[in-house]
Amino acid sequence: MFTNLSFTISGFRCVYGALTAFAWLITFLFSLDYLKEDKKRWRYYLFNLLTLVATLGIFFAADFFTLFLFFEIMSFTSFMWVLHRETRESFYAAGTYLAIAIAGGLSILMGMLLVWRSLGTLCFHELYEKAMIIEDKTQLYIAACCMFAGFGAKAGAFPVHVWLPMSYREAPAPATALLSAILSKTGIFGLLCISATILPMDDQWGFFILVIGIITMVLGGICGLCSDNLKTTIAYSSMSQIGFILVGVGMQGLLAEENGLAVWGTMLHMVNHTFVKLLLFLLAGVIFAKAGSYELNHLKGFGKRKPFLQLCFILGAAGVGGIPLLNGYISKTLLHESIVEYQHMAGTGKAIESLFLFSGGLTLSYMTKLYVVLFVEKNENNELQKQYEHMTNYVSTGTRITLVLCAIPVLLIGLLPNHIGKWIMDSMSELMHVEQEMEQISYFSLTNLTGVVISVLAAVVMYLLVVKGLMLHKKEKGYHNPIPNWVSMEVYLYRDVMFRFIPFLLCVMARVLDCIVDSLVVILRKTVYRDRALPYELPEGNLFTHRLAQMVTVIHKAQERFAHKPKSNRNYEHEIALKNTELVEDMKIVERSLSFGLFMFCLGLTLTLIYLFAVN
């Protein structure tokens, strides 16, 4: 039950295996250029390959245990990406990354144990059959929530997303691209496995994921819009898109048998996000390599006279933003339609739909923000602007090719949704046991285009409101993040509560338990077994004589000082202790003497008499 690792291959796994290989190849080619000067590049390549092995292991796993095993390996090897630069910030980010990865991993283990207990297996296809007939699902819900903590953390879902912005910012650009394009999908894959095997078509699980997805989607969008850093913006965009995917996963559960649209939308959005984020993070890497910073204020006007960069960026940004004729539009439309379908079943559908469209608007607005900064506005620093404009040789041919390779699928899927898109969705959707046939969907119908129009309107409003209204300071020039620093869940909730407060409580309790027997021994030695002095015990006398001697000494010193008494070095402690010993011995003699015995005898006799009187 333990030692066998099992692997399987199927449509979804094939597609993601191929995408993983593609992404690794692309980032490797990119990093040849990007890390040319880096002394630690061999370490990076080593851990890069190890992570590749682990990632493929995850996608080809045929049971939860194999999945878990490779998931843990992946967490540890990718940890070295975050730590790569070895600066203070990367230390901090990597610490959070690792802590969340380990806690998440253990949480997955707990979930697996619960699944094992209630279904007796961890193998995916057996799980599906057994889960369909199980009556009491309580344990499975708990198991799924436990696993969510681990898989969701890797995906970047609220509330376990805290590691994401920092780690994405600190890792080198090709590693960030992989983190966002592939590693986040391993988390999603884990969640899909839960949806597909232990809780198939379950509406409660679906609702849970839906709520999480909506929060992630909106929160990611807002944070992305408010960020004043290029890479952080894209990182939050990643989080927001994961939110979209999670909404799809949630819809799969809620729509039960009619979940075809949701499944197709989810799958396609995963693939789209992979391509788009590869493109965008690599672009960010190109910019960083030349400009040396991710700060928007520093990057203002960087893209002037750089048509290739501009084209790639537009493809990426518009692709993820859901502009028709590009890939994001197709998957978002499918997700949108699944939500519309859900409206027929429940009243909350309307609210979900508007939040969905609003988030689509947020995506567009933060991408517009980046576009305006990079390609429209001019830098305040004229020299820098000149420097930027004369930077013609900003990207090598090899890098150009990698970028183009990422950009082509964005166009292809967008232009040929009923061919390439359909093929991808068809091959991937077997994972979710979809029984519906995929019909021709008219992606460019009026209703679907209306959704885009609403999103664009929302984008314009949000852009004007947040970027023009809040981010651009009147006094200090440039962009500033309007969200104050202290609104960071990471610092207050996780660091303090998890690392300080809870361990502190545990330790106080543990310390008390630890000392029980030792203090008992000390007490015994102080009371019953007084034969040996404890290390801190007085050489002679007891505490009373010691204090008394101290007082007498103080009085004597005072007398010497103020009453001009002659000096003397009398050792009061010794004298008083002697007196005490004499006293104790006298008492002992008295105790042993005949008269004392007689006295006690009399006392006893008297008591007896009183007792007799009292009784009679």
């Binding site: 039950m1 333990f2 030692t3 878990f68 095993l69 843990e72 390996i73 540890f76 730590l83 070895e86 230390f91 990597a94 610490g95 690792l98 802590a99 380990i102 806690a103 991993g105 253990l106 949480s107 283990l109 707990m110 144990l113 619960l114 094992w116 207990r117 690392f499 361990p503 545990l506 330790c507 309790m509 543990a510 310390r511 338990l513 630890d514 000392c515 029980i516 027997v517 030792d518 021994v521």
Partner: protein, 490 residues
């Protein structure tokens, strides 16, 4: 030829006594001493392996009094412990050639080391309660000088504390054995126990016998660091020389575990205490210890003491698995016995190598050490990962079985509380071990020049670290072997 069972016990004891009694001047040349000790160890180890894998199963020593004989008997459980003991003892001895060069009275150390080896073999091979108790007491006595080896006041106080706790526990157990004598067969170990349940019931002594069993468990549990009598562990480990702490933590404390297994599964029988308050209290105490040990290790600043608290916690993983009283849980326990012996001796040897090479004892001082001694710190990292239970290292295998065993239980809360506590403890383990290795590799280094410990210290550490990894990758043979042992007991 049945005397061959005697050889792995008598030979090390004779060698040890020889070293102790011979005058110091014979060994003024250190090289000669070390070569001699090494050769003797190889000889002893070969003898042990011949006895372990031989065909001889039983040897009767002599009768103490009428009806009570000392018997050496070898079964699969004994084999398991004996192999682990031999492996760890040999590697730790190799390490101590490097370490003890910096300490005084090296000859005395080796003398007691061999005595310990012989006594431990005796404990593993003992065939009845009396023999086991005898070797158990000897074990305390011969490891006591290892603890106070340095001879500082602190070491002596710690040694006395160790002695006090151990005897306290042993007498509790002895008290239990006296009463057990009436209903159970203490002249032989029998898989499944030999307690005469009918007689106990007929005399109406069930409640009393439960108390007796509890005394036995908590008495032998002292050696295994079970709350509340665990306090000797964190005191004794830091003051002892590193090889001695590795030995204590890796092997000697497992003597307590072995004694508990023998008493509970071979004399009393698991059925007698299953579902009674004894099992409940035992489970509760072990879970408390798991959490307490990890939490204290998390806050501890002295490196070796941190490892000692970690031992407290990990030993109770083993006890928890035993307390579940089901085959799967016990499989997890025995797996953890092996893995923990290897991992923890590796960690203690790392700590020792660091102390000898740099003189650093506090956790905070270890920052940047990975640049100075990368090989050592990588070994430390692998052992740490194994202790946390990160796949594919070995620790995850035993934890998996422990958790599965707990999940099989129908005892009200234990089925979920047990795994949760184990996992929280694993999280704390990550919290107290990983920052050490991360800081050592990434932190600011005072010395960046490469300076690994001597090869004689590094090799055993590397071997142990590789072993943790290999056993995690191919646990199947060991798991099968152990499943064979546990299946026959319940």
């Amino acid at each position: 030829m049945s005397e061959i069972l005697l050889l792995p016990i008598v030979l090390p004891v004779c060698v040890g006594l020889g070293y102790l009694l011979s005058p110091e001047t014979w060994f003024s040349n250190r090289k000669r001493l070390v070569c001699g000790v090494g050769a003797m160890m190889i000889l002893c180890a070969i003898c042990s392996l011949v006895a372990i894998f031989g065909t001889v199963e039983e040897y009767q020593l002599f009768s103490l009094v009428q009806g009570i004989t000392l018997i050496l008997h070898i079964d699969d459980l004994g084999r398991l412990f004996a192999v682990v003991t031999t492996l760890v003892m040999a590697l730790v001895l190799l390490f101590s050639f490097g370490y003890m060069a910096h300490e005084e009275h090296e000859k005395r150390f080796y003398g007691f080391y061999f005595l310990t080896y012989g006594v431990l073999m005796g404990l593993d091979f003992s065939g009845n309660v009396v023999t086991m108790y005898l070797f158990y007491e000897f074990m305390t006595l011969v490891t006591f000088p290892l603890v106070l080896h340095t001879g500082t006041k602190e070491a002596i106080m710690a040694g006395l504390k160790y002695l006090f706790y151990s005897f306290c526990g042993a007498y509790m157990a002895l008290f239990g054995i006296y009463f057990l004598h009436k209903y159970a067969d203490i002249t032989d170990f029998m898989a499944g126990g030999s307690l005469d349940l009918a007689a106990v019931l007929a005399d109406g002594n069930t409640g009393f016998m439960l108390v007796i069993v509890f005394l036995l468990i908590s008495g032998f549990g002292v050696k295994a660091g079970m709350f509340p009598l665990h306090a000797w562990l964190p005191t004794a480990h830091p003051v002892a020389p590193a090889p001695a702490s590795a030995l204590l933590s890796g092997i000697v404390v497992k003597g307590g575990v072995l004694a508990i297994i023998r008493m509970v599964f071979y004399v009393v029988g698991a059925d007698f205490i299953k579902g009674t308050w004894v099992q409940t209290v035992w489970l509760a105490l072990s879970l408390i210890t798991v959490l307490m040990g990890s939490a204290l290790a998390y806050k501890e600043r002295v490196f070796k003491k941190r490892l000692a608290y970690s031992t407290v916690s990990n030993l109770s993983y083993i006890l928890f698995g035993l307390a579940l009283l089901n085959p799967v849980g016990m499989t997890g326990s025995l797996l953890h016995v092996i893995f923990h012996a290897i991992i923890k001796s590796c960690l203690f040897l790392c700590a020792g190598a660091i102390i000898v090479t740099t003189g650093k004892t506090k956790v905070a001082e270890l920052s940047g050490l990975g640049k100075q001694m990368p090989v050592l710190m990588w070994c430390f990292t692998f052992a740490s990962l194994a202790l946390i239970g990160i796949p594919p290292t070995s620790g995850v295998v035993s934890k998996w079985y422990l958790c599965i065993g707990a999940m099989e239980e129908r005892i009200s809360v234990v089925w979920w509380l047990g795994p949760v506590v184990l996992l929280i403890s694993a999280l704390l383990t990550a919290g107290y071990l990983l920052p050490v290795s991360i800081n050592s590799f990434m932190g600011e280094a005072s010395v960046t020049e490469r300076k690994e410990p001597k090869a004689v210290m590094l090799i055993p550490i590397i071997l142990l670290a590789v072993l943790t990894l290999l056993l995690g990758l191919y646990p199947a043979p060991i798991v099968d072997f152990i499943s064979g042992i546990t299946a026959g007991l319940m």
